[in-house]
Symmetry: C2
Subunit: 389 residues, 2 copies
Amino acid sequence: MTKIIVPGFRFAGVAGGIKKNGKPDVALLVADESVPAAGVFTQNRVRAAPVILSERRVAAGRLRGVVVNSGNANACTGERGEADADEMTRILGRSVGAGPEELVVASTGVIGVPLPMDRVRSGIDSAAAALSPTGFTTFADAILTTDKGPKVSVARAGDAIVAGCAKGAGMIAPQMATTLAFVVTDAQVDPAWLQETLLAAAGATFNSAIVDGDTSTNDTLLVFASGRAGRVGDDRLKGALFDVLGNLADMLVRDGEGATKLVRVRVTGARTDGDAQLVARRIATSPLVKTALHGADPNWGRIMCAVGNAGVDIDPRRIDLDLGPVAVVRGGAAVVLPSVEEIEAAAHQVMREPSYEVRVALGLGSGSALVTTCDLTHEYITINASYRS
Amino acid sequence: MTKIIVPGFRFAGVAGGIKKNGKPDVALLVADESVPAAGVFTQNRVRAAPVILSERRVAAGRLRGVVVNSGNANACTGERGEADADEMTRILGRSVGAGPEELVVASTGVIGVPLPMDRVRSGIDSAAAALSPTGFTTFADAILTTDKGPKVSVARAGDAIVAGCAKGAGMIAPQMATTLAFVVTDAQVDPAWLQETLLAAAGATFNSAIVDGDTSTNDTLLVFASGRAGRVGDDRLKGALFDVLGNLADMLVRDGEGATKLVRVRVTGARTDGDAQLVARRIATSPLVKTALHGADPNWGRIMCAVGNAGVDIDPRRIDLDLGPVAVVRGGAAVVLPSVEEIEAAAHQVMREPSYEVRVALGLGSGSALVTTCDLTHEYITINASYRS
């Protein structure tokens, strides 16, 4: 990959000793000046200290940068955790000449253990000394925990570039908390438009990607826009932002703990988009559906069962269900022609593919939703059931 | 076990050829006359034909009996399925001299395949010829699918007996649909009291038992009271009913697909019982929590994360969390004395037990809930990911 340079930004990633394995764990993203910024945060009611701090500060619509640490989530750490998060921004602020209110923080790692602040302090100082316009990939490396590798996506929007990176293997990695994602662009934007567009893009991408249905205490998505490339057209920039976030969300699911398949669940014909979303999410999180996806078992009764469990008012007699191109249910009843056996065999073939679509049509209205999920495998159990010590 | 005899009832179970393995698959429970009866059915919006029929008929408060088949759920089978369910009650009615409106039906097995009615008809006729006051255990055998063995529980209520049986290994067994449970007593009751008490008992037992969080299209719980033993006191009978259903629900969880542990999740201090129930269920269904239970991993951050994801308004700073006798969180923050390592080791010891309690105190009110769950294991994946053919 060629070097990713986004005019107006510098990046760094160093090993500060927070992780016991010596891998990079302190990352910095700093704009040359205060720039338009927007953020989306976890909807979990238990929120880590950095989430509480960052959500408040990004509300102003402009930021200088973010300090990220991996290896420790700074969650369930009480008042000490909140003081530590604030101090992280003060340390960075002194190095780069910014006020703490212009800086935010994101953390990922084990929950309930206080941050080793001596290592965090020296790590931030080392990283600040290493800040460079070509440091994007070192930043992307230092935010990882159990990911198989870095998740980076870049798109063009006219003369501007949109570069994003993310971490996460499962909505929560083992003992870890978090999806983190950071996007920078040199396009010129209005902060309010950026926040609104980011919310829409997150809804269609990250918030529709499901590994195990759990939302962590630390999930954070931030975007910064330096404006160096000038205005490139809102639609064009929005398209590039959706592309980058969509690619990163797919990478999260493909790297989902133990995942071997990426399956799109498309629900149409709901009374509202919200209803469709509830049905799609119920299908995408059902352990019985996800094990059937793993075994390529065309046991579509489990999908019908999940539809009925979504808490949405449906009419079972109007439901159509397709696995890829194979129609398996029409009007709520099994398709039995040419024969139950032939339909099952065709559906099994579809489900052996690494990626395909499950489509449910509810026949009640025009609400729709598209959710991306993965299968539930032995490897997921192995990763998550292992005792840490 | 001594023979279970409940005066006023006859039972039978035979192999009718619905299951391919030749095991018993047609079961009958018939009262000597029309008796008070009550039922609780699946809350899934996709309901199998027998559920639709039985819920309507039991509303009258009196029944003669039930015909059960295993091996085929008669779900997603359209109008043909509804006609088949009705015909099952007509066949039994002719044999025992009862009108079809006095009889109900329950089915469990594969979804989306029409019933083989020729075998069902001859099976019901054979079973009717075998009806006997000592047939309870043959009945309990014939309702099973992938269960490891029969699930039977008996309690005394004064001079009366309360006998129950259930089937189910997971809220849904592989490719199957259903929890079924049947209870008979010779106590004398008022039908309205029976329905009300059954609802309360089901809420505290079956509806608080979680294997994988899916509710099938066929779940059915029926109770019949012959009155032969006369009145025994409502509280005494209610106690016996709760005991029998509680035992059966525990048997379901212990026989949960792949389960190796039975864990009680107790939530207190919620604003309402409903809030407590939502928090307890979220913990009890989280794949990340359930894999941690399996690995005896005291990774309590996953439990805090589940609490925050329950969709209930909580104050994270008031949460206390205990694993068995070990306090791990106080006021939303990790307990760090005597040391993080000692607390983790003590919690790990608790989690190595086959059964223990996870307690969450929310500190907001007096709402509480108790839910029973199991761990998520490799065996669950093996059972559910296997392609059927």
